[in-house]
Amino acid sequence: MSIPDETLMAFADGSLPPAEVNRIAALLDADPALAERVALLADGRRIAAGAFRDVLDQPVPARLLAAATAPPAVNDNRRNPWRLAALAAAAGLLLGAFLGPRLPLPGGAAPEAGLLPARVATALDGAGGQGVVVAGTYLAEGGVYCRRFAIPDETGTVQGLACRDPEGWRLRVAVARSAEGGSFQPAGADDPVIAEMLERLGAGQALDANAEGAARARGWRVR
């Protein structure tokens, strides 16, 4: 008696209706070759299911995290000033809630709509901000200032990149790293995710102290 493989497969998966299950089970009892085929189908599923499972446990490369969180097509239009304003606006929107509500920023309530907690914002403004280390200032595409910061605590370091919009400092990307070997990671260490994001935002080298001071004096506006 010949039964289609699709039916045998559904039997092996336990997805046949009960009446069918009984019918097939009776046929299998009477036909060892059929039973063998069902066993192969079940084995095949089990073998396939485990394949590449370890990929899930690997850290996701920084370039992929950056690709998934970048504003669309920034790189493609870097040389086109006409598009810059629009891109900056798009980037500003993206800043919105990305990772913000889920970011485990120590010592603060969940930031609202991607705006950073007051303590971090104060540090980014350049007016203190305890426990927050500002690690560099960049001028991104479209004339937007972005600053890299780190917040070390006993469990590790949160590193982030925030960009300034009219409402305040918005989080662009943040990375939490646990402390290795019981010691803090250096606060200024370049995180590849943040480096990728800077690249995608069209930011050049970090500003020197003079340029940074001037930007701060202008309230982080280009002019």
């Binding site: 192969l40 073998i47 396939a48 992929l64 998934a68 504003p71 669309p72």
Partner: protein
């Protein structure tokens, strides 16, 4: 807006697994994932809220994979099919061999399957999509997915059964 990106970030590990199961080369797989992310962000409007986001991303990635094979075949003038692509040494022939050697038996056997069986298996057995969902990703009827998956499962079981003896 940002929900889209947080969903995309959360899906990255599965996209990487899916891409590696399709093409077998970790570096090439990550290139595919990156390209898929960029394309997805450009065409967010094409995603219907309330439908499966993972299926939508799998479809984008799988189509990019097919495209890259077609481009490579056309450029090289090689009669390369998806099925024997893994065994053709390219400029990166050495590293390809290394990668394949590192793969465990099941993964190696999976990568030796004809591509249509492989993608049906990967979607239904690794990613646990239903036959109907896998059919939507692949653009073929559910019955076709079922028969390809059945053939793939039997081939896989036989391949590993023989190597055990």
């Amino acid at each position: 807006m940002s929900t889209f990106q947080t969903d995309l970030v959360a899906l990255l590990p599965r996209l990487r697994r899916f891409a590696q199961a399709l093409c077998g080369r970790p570096d090439q797989a990550d290139d595919l994932v990156q390209e898929a992310c960029e394309r997805a962000l450009r065409s967010q409007d094409g995603f219907t809220p309330g439908t499966r986001f993972d299926s939508w991303m799998f479809r984008i990635l799988r189509n990019l994979w097919l495209d890259s094979h077609r481009r490579r075949a056309a450029r090289g003038g090689v009669h390369e099919t998806l099925d024997d692509a893994e065994s053709i040494p390219g400029a990166d022939g050495a590293s390809v061999t290394m990668n394949l050697l590192d793969l465990r038996d099941a993964e190696r056997a999976l990568l030796r399957l004809p591509h249509d069986q492989r993608e049906a298996l990967v979607l239904t057995c690794i990613e646990d999509l239903t036959y109907a969902e896998a059919a939507a990703v692949l653009g073929v009827p559910p019955g076709t997915v079922m028969s390809r998956a059945a053939r793939g499962r039997i081939a896989l079981a036989k391949a590993l059964g023989e190597s055990d003896r």
